[in-house]
Amino acid sequence: MTKTQRASDQWLAEVAKGIRQRVLGHSLKNNGGYMSQACSAAELLSCMYGGLIDLPEVPEPLLPRPFAGTPGIAGKNRETGIEFHGGRKPDRDRLISSPAHYALVIYAAMIESGRLHEDALNDFNKDGSTVEMIGAEHSPGFETTTGSLAQAISQASGIAIARKIRKETGNTWVFMSDGEFQEGQTWEALQAASFHNLGNLKVIVDVNQGQCDGPMDQVMSIEPLASKIEAFGWEVVRVDGHDTDAIFDAGKTVTDKPLMILCYTDPVRGLPIMQSRFPTLHYLRFTSETEKATYAAAYQEMSK
């Protein structure tokens, strides 16, 4: 059964652990994966799917559909992955996931939280599957095609405006990665959301301070992030992204402004051996059988 009230500490911890374990297991099996994103986002994703966001329930874990084809004129193939988030309900929340590169981690989170069938990962990155490596709008748990980053927050703003016009009481949430704050569109969206008083728009960010080329402070610094976003008219809460109590407290912030929860995270949390790969953490690919064996041992340890 999926969560709509705050899940127990034990549930949150198990889901977070399960995310890391499942992504590591998948990476071992497929010689690669977005592992550091699992390490950084495990707790915040367990919170998101554990009651922080009031997503409608899904009665049982759903199997992904095969890819039906690209969308076309006259409504052809327009189905999105919204069903895994329980569909559209006026008084309930929506969640738009922006960093499509987190797809494996998001799928894992949805499996652990009972929304996605565990066999779904057998289809990961397979031809003809919707369980794509870079999630798109037809992928489980996705509603927008945002592999070109920073486009989800604008679309979620449009959804939030639509819901405001219709006087719906549910909030619209966006899950973002910190790298997206390098894109100009993010700042356009921030200024517009506060200008249009989108108090029903809430963003949660995995601030893991890393990107494809390495640590963000060496590629393109975005700090001081909180004060910049505040200056754009948002309510900003900065938390330890591995502290589930702090994340839930941030979610309760009472404000008329759009809300930004910046979750500062550790990209190797739960898998410290990955620190030796620093600063290249964006994608884990094993360079030797010896290295792979080290990670396999860590997987065994994690599974105890």
Binding site: G72, R78, T144, S154, G158, I161, Q185, A192
Partner: protein, 337 residues
């Protein structure tokens, strides 16, 4: 040749049209009055959204609204709808094939705003985008009726719209019909395909060309994508001496290219002359000046016809009288850029 001049055909028409369509919302990017929706904003403030000079976000917001069942009508200058926010146009709007209407004003060399304001390759870019429908209006009747045509398309639509003082070339009761060209004259030697403001320009020369005994089939097209109207296909594959296209756009990727594709696919073995912007940027100057400088005018049409039939028509420049003499004195003021 003179036509009735209609003052701001879009302005009140769009207000009236929107009255019974609560799903219609308008988004602008700091060019509200310049795109004739200032009164729309004042009439329907609850469904008007000022997005400021931030087109990338505007396109994304429109996508979100469309996903929720609203029909966003974006009003700004043509160039700002696709050149800067092309990725957003493609990934947020075109890929999911959302009902977003991109109403682009001052296309091609209609703006004196110079190269930054001149959408001269919008057809080329938009034609290459899957799921996109492209419309261009050529007169006041089409400026009024294009909104019904766009509204009926279950997918994204880009419109090259006219503003301010607009000639009425076509009867008010003959609205724009989707993917259906207007036949303006019949003839077997040459097929002439024109769109947008080039149609009025061509109409300056056509009576003189016909007087000289040249048989020209002249079609005005308003649907640029899809571009498979059977009338157009038949006309460009049956002309005995050649085909001419005339567009307020680069000769690369626009109507001339679309016609070339049809001719090649059908094995039409006559020459094609493309009148348009000849793979160059334009600059800040009046429409009249730029049309002359770039050869987007009746003289170019006469020269193209002469080339195809192989004889001089002896039509003097002064015979091609002023394009437009207003029947009605217009009070329309110059619009802001």
């Amino acid at each position: 040749m003179s036509y009735e001049i209609v003052n701001r055909p879009h302005q009140q028409n769009f207000i009236d049209w929107s009255a019974d369509k609560p799903e219609v919302v308008v988004l602008t990017a700091d060019l509200t009055n310049s795109c004739e929706v200032g009164r729309w904003r004042d009439t329907y403030p609850e469904r008007f959204f000022s997005m400021g000079m931030a087109e990338q976000n505007m396109l994304g917001v429109a996508a979100g609204l469309a996903r929720e069942g609203f029909e966003p009508w974006l009003h700004t200058f043509a160039v700002f709808l696709y050149r800067r926010p092309l990725d957003q146009l493609q990934m947020s709007i075109a890929y999911p094939s959302l009902k977003v209407r991109l109403v682009g004003f001052l296309p091609g060399i209609m703006t004196p705003g110079g190269v930054t304001h001149q959408a001269i390759e919008d057809f080329a870019v938009m034609r290459a985008i899957p799921n996109m429908t492209i419309l261009e209006v050529g007169d006041a009747t089409e400026a009024e009726s294009v909104i019904d045509v766009a509204h009926a398309v279950d997918g994204p639509v880009y419109i090259r719209q006219l503003r301010g003082e607009v000639s009425r070339l076509f009867p008010k009761d003959e609205p724009l019909v989707f993917n259906h060209a207007r036949v303006l004259s019949e003839g077997e030697e040459i097929t002439l395909i024109t769109s947008g403001i080039m149609t009025e320009e061509a109409l300056r020369a056509m009576p003189l060309i016909k007087q000289k005994g040249v048989l020209v089939k002249h079609l005005h097209v308003s649907t640029i994508k899809p571009f498979n109207d059977p009338q157009v296909v038949a006309a460009v594959t049956s002309a005995s001496k050649g085909v001419i296209t005339m567009e307020n756009h680069s000769i690369i990727g626009g109507i001339g290219s679309a016609v070339a594709e049809i001719m090649a696919e059908h094995g039409a073995a006559v020459p094609l002359r493309r009148i348009g912007i000849n793979d160059t940027y334009a600059h800040g100057a009046s429409q009249k000046h730029l049309m002359e400088e770039l050869g987007l005018n009746a003289q170019s049409l006469v020269a193209a016809v002469e080339g195809l039939i192989g004889r001089n028509l002896h039509i003097a420049a002064e015979d091609l009288a002023a394009a437009r003499v207003a029947d009605v004195h217009s009070a329309a003021k110059a619009e802001a850029l």
